[in-house]
Symmetry: C2
Subunit: 624 residues, 2 copies
C-alpha cells in the first residue's frame, strides 16, 4: 500500500539521493544519477502520458538498480538501511513503470508473454520485473493495489450506494418492473460488432481453452441477447438491472470515469400502442431523480425520425445520415462552429446543407417548438419527420398527464451516440452543471443564449445523469443471427448514471454519513468487572428482538474504549451492565445525545424484562 | 437459441439423413454417414463425458461438413433448403463440440489460437468454425447462448434471490456488520499461490496490455488484500460481502456447480480476547440459517490445533501434517478405509500411525467429548492440542450463552480443505441430506453408526450449506509482501452457501413464488372505451401514493387481456375505470379472490378522493 502511494509522489528521488549521499560504492552514485533523471522526467503533470523512450529509460534504470541491490546484498558490510532503501526504490520504480507504461508498450515489448498464453511466476513479465516472485507471497515482493481503473468501496460508500440502489429499485417496482441477472461475461461474438469503435475497450478473457468470452460492456446488449433467447416467454417485460460493466478506457478517476462501474438500466420490451411505454419510462426517470434528491434537472428529448427528417430536408445524402447525426451529438460539448467544420471538412458535407442544419439544431423549447415545426411545410412534407412529429405530440400529451412535462426540453441538438436508436431519445441533465442557456431554452426557443454558436466549455457536458431511447431492432439483430427470420421485440429504455448520482450525493452528504458505514441501535457495555458473559446474554436478547446490537470482544474492556466505540459509530442507545444492577435484575439505559453527555449522566435503571420495549420506544422517539 | 436446444437433442441425425436422401452429390451421402455415426456416439447418457477421440471424430466431421457446405453453395443449382439444412447441421455440430469438448482438448487441438493471443473472425477458431462470422451479427451465424457454466436468472429466480440476500443482510446488520465492495478482478499476483492446486481454475483476463488480472476466485483473498492495504483504518472490522466469484471448474449444473456463482461471506477481523468473535460468527450462522428456514441443520465444529495435536500425538511427522489433514478432510465423502489407504500409500504414513488417527477422527459429540479428550493424558500433554482444548471449552461456554450449543456437533473428522485456517473450523450441514449417523453422533460419540468405517456414499456430502474458520495469518501474507514487517490482523469468518440455500428454497417454494417475479398491488383497467389517458392519470396518482400499479399500454385493450394480466401476475386489487363512473367522479375497486371471481362481481364504487385510502386499507387487510 505504501509503495503505491509513494510511487505517485515525487518522494523517491530525494530518498534515493539520500542513499547516494551515504553511498560507499561509486556505482551506487552512478545509478542514482540516472535514476534521478528518469524519475524527474516522470514527475511532470503529464506523467500518465509517459513516452515509450521514458519507459525504456526507466526499464534500464530498473535493471541497473536490480543489479545494485543484489551487489549490496552480497556485501556483508552493507548497512541494512541501505539495502532496504535500495529495495524500496526498486519496487517504487517497478510500480511506476507498471502503472504508467502504455498498454501497447508492455504488450509489444515482450510478445513472448502472449505467445505462451500465460504469464506465470517463471515467465519474464512485460514490465521487466524479473525479481518479482508471485508464487509465494511470503517471499515475493509485489505492489499491493487494485487493478488500474478499479477501486474498493468502503463501508460508508457502500451505505450510500445501498441507499441509492434501494431508492431506485423502489421506484422501478412501483411501476411493476422485475429484475433479471445475466453473467458478467458473454460469448465474445455476442458483443462483437455492437459498439463500433468502442469495441476496442472490451475486456476479453484469456483463451484458456473452451469458449472465447468478454466482460460485458453494458447491460443493453446482454438484455437484447436474453430476449432473443427467451422471447417466447418474455414477449413483453419491464425489467431493470443494476450491475457492474467493464470498459478498458483510460481511467480518469477524478472525473469518476472507471474501468469497472455500475450501470442501472430499465427497459420496457414489447409491442404496444405508440409512445405509451415511452412516456412511462420518462415518468420513471423523473420520479427516480426526484426520489434521489439529486437537485433540479431537465430532460432533453428529441426523436430520431425528426432528426433524420431534418437531415433529409436540409439535403444530407442518405448514406451520410448517421455520420452527420454523430457530429450533431457533439453539440453538448462542442460549439457549432467546430461541429460545422467537422461536417463540411472531414465528412464532406456541402456548407449550405450544414448551415440549414445549423438553423434547426439550435432550436429548443416545449410544445410551442412542436407547433413551430408542425408549421414548417418542408418538414411536414417529409414522411419520416412527419411520423416523428405525430409521436412527439402524443408523447407531450402523455407526459402532461403523468405530470412531468415541465421537466422536458424538446431539443433538436440532442442526437445520442448509439446507432441503434430508432425513436425518441432523451438525456437528463442536472441543472447545476448544465450548459448555460439550457434552462432558458426550456421555456423559449426563440433566443437561445448560444445564438452565435459559442459555449463556455468549462461548464459543459458534465451534468448528464440519465439517458436512453427507443431501439426497436436490436433484439432482431440477435434472434435473426441463426439465419432464420428474427423475432422482433421493440424496446424503450433508460440508463440511470448511478456513479454520477453517487458522486453528487456523496458530495452533499459529506458531513452526514456515518464514516463507519454502519447503523447500530444499541451498544452493550460494562462498568467495573468486565461481565463479558452478561453482555453476551443481553446482546443475544436484543438480536432476538430484532435490535442491532454490539459489544466489545474483550473480557475486561476499559470504559473509555467502550465510550469511544459508541461515539465513533454514533450508536444512539447504551445498555450499561453493572454488578449491582445485575443483582437487582436491572440494567441502566442511556441515550446518547452528544459526546459531552457520556461522562455525566449514568443512565436510567430499567428492569431486564422491560429492557427491549424501553429501547424500542426510545428509538421510535428519535425517529420522530 | 434454437440451435443450442437442438444440439442437445438427437434431432439432427434425422434431419441430416433427410438431406442425404435428397442428395444429388455422392460426397454428400458419404459425409452424412460419418456424421450420423459421430452424432450417434454423442447421444449417449454420458454425452457430457465425450471422449477426446469422439471429439476428434466430430472435429473431422465438422471440417468435412464445412467443405460440403461450401461446395453446395458454389453449385448454383443447389436448392436453398439443402444449403440451409447443411449449414444448420454444421452449426449444431460446432455448438455440440464447443459445449462438450473438455477445455484442454480445444486448447491443444489448435495451439495457434493462444499463440496469436486473439481469436477474431479471421482466425481459425479451436472448434473449427471457419465459417463463423463474428463481426456482423446481421450477416453472421452463431450460437445464441450464455458461456458454459453460467446462466441467466429469471425474474422469479431473482425475486427469491433478493429475499435470500435481504434476509441474510438483515441478520448480519443485527450484529453491526458493514459491507465493502472489491473489484471483480484482482492483479494476477494477488491470487497467485493462494489456492494450491485449484489455482488452475482461476480465470485470467487476456493480456491486452497493462496489468495482468484474474477474476476473483473467492471473497476471502480480496478481503485479506483489502485489510493489508487499509489495515491502519480498519484494525478491526466486521464486514460482509455478497458477490459473484469465478471458477473454471467443470460445471455440473444439475448439482448446482457453476463457473459463476454467488458467495456470501462474513468475517470479523481484529485482535480480541479468545473465542468471543468466533462464538458470534457461529451465532450468526445459526441465526441466518434459522431466518432462511432451510430446515434442520447441524454445525460440525473442530479446532485445527486439536487436530494438529492429535496428528503429533499419533506420530505424524511434522512435514506431513497438512497432507494428512487434507486426507482427513475427505472423510465426509469417503469411507475411512479409503482415506487410510491414501495415508499409508500415496502419503507414505506408517499404518500404525494411521490406525491411531482412525481412532480419534471417528469421535463426535458435544461437551462430553471435550471431557473425554481432556481426560486423555497423551493429548493434554501436547501443547498445541492443549491450547485447542482450552479454546474449545471457552467456545462451548459462549455458544451456550448465545443459545446455539444444541446445534453444534464437535466432530474430530472435520478438517476443512484450506491451508490457511489456524483455529476453530466449522461446517453447517442441512439435516435432510446429512451423512447417516451424524445426528446420533451429536449426542453420543460412543457408538458411531459408521463404526466399521463404512458410509452410504449416496447420502453423503451434499448437505454442506456454510463453512469457515479462524485464519490469523492470511492478512500478514499480503501486508508482509513488500518486504516490511507485516501487519497481522487475525480473522474469523464464515461463507454461507447461498447457491445451495437458493436450491433448497426454490424447491420448497415451487408452487408459491409468482412465476413472473413481480409484486404489483393494483392493476388499472378500463371497461368499454379504452380510456387510456384516464388510466394513466389514475396510475400516476397511485404511484405518487407509493402503490405499485400497472396498466395495459394499449389505447383500447380488451377486457379478457386485462383480466389475464391480473391473473398472471396475481395482482390483488383492480381499479376499474368506466365512462359512467368517471362522470360521477368514481372508480370501481375489486379485490381479486380467485380467477372465477373476475367475471362475477363488478367491484365496489369508490369516489376518486377515497381511492388511495380504500386500496391501502384493502391491502393492509390482506396482510393480516
Amino acid at each position: 500500500m505504501q509503495l503505491t502511494r509513494r510511487s505517485s509522489s515525487i518522494e523517491i528521488p530525494s530518498r534515493q539521493a539520500a542513499l547516494a549521499a551515504r553511498g560507499t560504492l561509486s556505482v551506487r552514485r552512478t545509478i542514482s544519477r540516472s535514476l534521478r533523471g528518469c524519475l524527474r522526467s516522470m514527475s511532470t503533470s503529464h506523467a500518465e502520458a509517459l513516452s515509450s523512450s521514458d519507459a525504456e529509460q526507466l526499464q534500464r534504470a530498473i535493471t541497473e538498480q536490480g543489479n545494485l541491490v543484489r551487489s549490496l546484498k552480497s556485501d556483508k558490510s552493507t548497512p541494512k538501511a541501505d539495502i532496504d532503501a535500495g529495495v524500496e526504490a526498486l519496487k517504487a520504480m517497478k510500480a511506476r513503470l507498471q502503472s504508467l507504461t502504455p498498454a501497447s508498450t508492455s504488450a509489444s515489448s515482450n510478445p513472448q508473454t502472449s505467445i505462451l498464453g500465460q504469464s506465470t511466476a517463471s515467465s519474464v513479465a512485460p514490465s521487466g520485473s524479473n525479481l518479482r516472485k508471485t508464487n509465494n507471497a511470503k517471499k515475493g515482493a509485489y505492489t499491493l493495489k487494485v487493478p488500474k481503473g478499479t477501486k474498493d468501496h468502503s463501508p460508508s460508500e457502500m451505505l450510500l450506494r445501498k441507499h441509492i440502489f434501494a431508492t431506485i429499485t423502489r421506484q422501478f417496482e412501483l411501476h411493476g418492473a422485475v429484475t433479471i441477472d445475466t453473467p458478467v461475461f458473454e460469448l465474445k461474438e455476442i458483443l462483437a460488432g455492437k459498439y463500433g469503435e468502442d469495441s476496442k475497450l472490451i475486456y476479453d478473457l484469456q483463451d484458456q481453452g473452451g469458449e472465447l468470452c468478454s466482460l460485458r460492456y453494458d447491460l443493453t446488449v446482454p438484455f437484447a441477447r436474453f430476449l432473443a433467447m427467451n422471447g417466447q416467454t418474455y414477449q413483453n417485460i419491464k425489467r431493470y438491472h443494476i450491475a457492474k460493466v467493464y470498459r478498458r478506457d483510460n481511467p480518469a478517476m477524478s472525473k469518476g470515469r472507471m474501468r469497472e462501474f455500475y450501470q442501472c438500466d430499465l427497459d420496457i420490451a414489447g409491442s404496444y400502442d405508440p409512445m405509451v411505454p415511452d412516456a412511462e419510462v420518462l415518468k420513471i426517470v423523473c420520479d427516480v431523480l426526484n426520489a434521489l434528491q439529486v437537485g433540479d434537472f431537465t430532460v432533453k428529448i428529441n426523436h430520431r425520425k425528426i432528426l433524420d427528417g431534418i437531415f433529409a430536408v436540409c439535403g444530407v445524402p442518405t448514406d451520410k445520415t448517421r455520420a452527420i447525426s454523430s457530429s450533431v451529438d457533439k453539440l453538448d460539448k462542442t460549439p457549432w462552429a467546430e461541429v460545422r467544420e467537422e461536417m463540411t471538412g472531414e465528412k464532406g458535407l456541402d456548407p449550405a446543407v450544414a448551415d440549414r442544419i445549423g438553423e434547426y439544431v439550435k432550436l429548443k423549447g416545449g410544445r410551442e417548438l412542436l407547433d413551430q415545426l408542425n408549421g414548417d411545410a418542408k418538414l411536414t412534407g417529409n414522411k419520416t419527420a412527419s411520423e416523428g412529429l405525430v409521436d412527439m405530440a402524443l408523447l407531450f400529451n402523455y407526459l402532461s398527464i403523468f405530470g412531468v412535462l415541465d421537466k422536458m426540453s424538446f431539443d433538436l441538438s440532442l442526437a445520442r451516440g448509439l446507432d441503434y436508436y430508432t425513436g425518441i431519445i432523451y438525456e437528463a441533465i442536472v441543472e447545476g452543471s448544465a450548459p448555460p442557456g439550457l434552462k432558458e431554452g426550456k421555456t423559449s426557443a426563440k433566443k437561445p443564449t448560444d445564438a452565435d454558436g459559442e459555449m463556455d466549455e468549462t461548464q459543459v457536458g458534465v451534468g448528464s445523469i440519465a439517458g436512453g431511447g427507443r431501439y426497436d431492432n436490436l433484439v432482431g439483430m440477435f434472434s435473426g443471427s441463426d439465419g432464420k427470420k428474427g423475432l422482433q421485440i421493440p424496446c424503450v429504455g433508460v440508463s440511470i448514471g448511478v456513479e454520477r448520482v453517487f458522486s453528487i450525493l456523496q458530495q452533499k452528504a459529506k458531513d452526514q454519513v456515518n464514516p463507519r458505514g454502519k447503523d447500530v441501535d444499541v451498544f452493550v457495555m460494562s462498568v467495573g468487572d468486565g461481565l463479558l458473559e452478561e453482555r453476551m446474554a443481553i446482546c443475544s436478547e436484543l438480536w432476538q428482538a430484532g435490535l442491532r446490537a454490539e459489544f466489545t470482544y474483550k473480557r475486561k474492556p476499559k470504559m473509555p474504549a467502550q465510550f469511544e466505540a459508541i461515539d465513533r459509530d454514533q450508536i444512539p442507545i447504551a445498555v450499561i451492565v453493572g454488578v449491582d444492577e445485575l443483582r437487582e435484575g436491572k440494567v441502566r439505559i442511556k441515550e446518547q445525545v452528544g459526546k459531552e453527555e457520556n461522562s455525566s449522566s449514568k443512565g436510567e435503571p430499567v428492569s431486564r424484562t422491560d429492557m427491549v420495549s424501553f429501547i424500542k420506544e426510545a428509538l421510535a422517539r428519535r425517529q420522530r
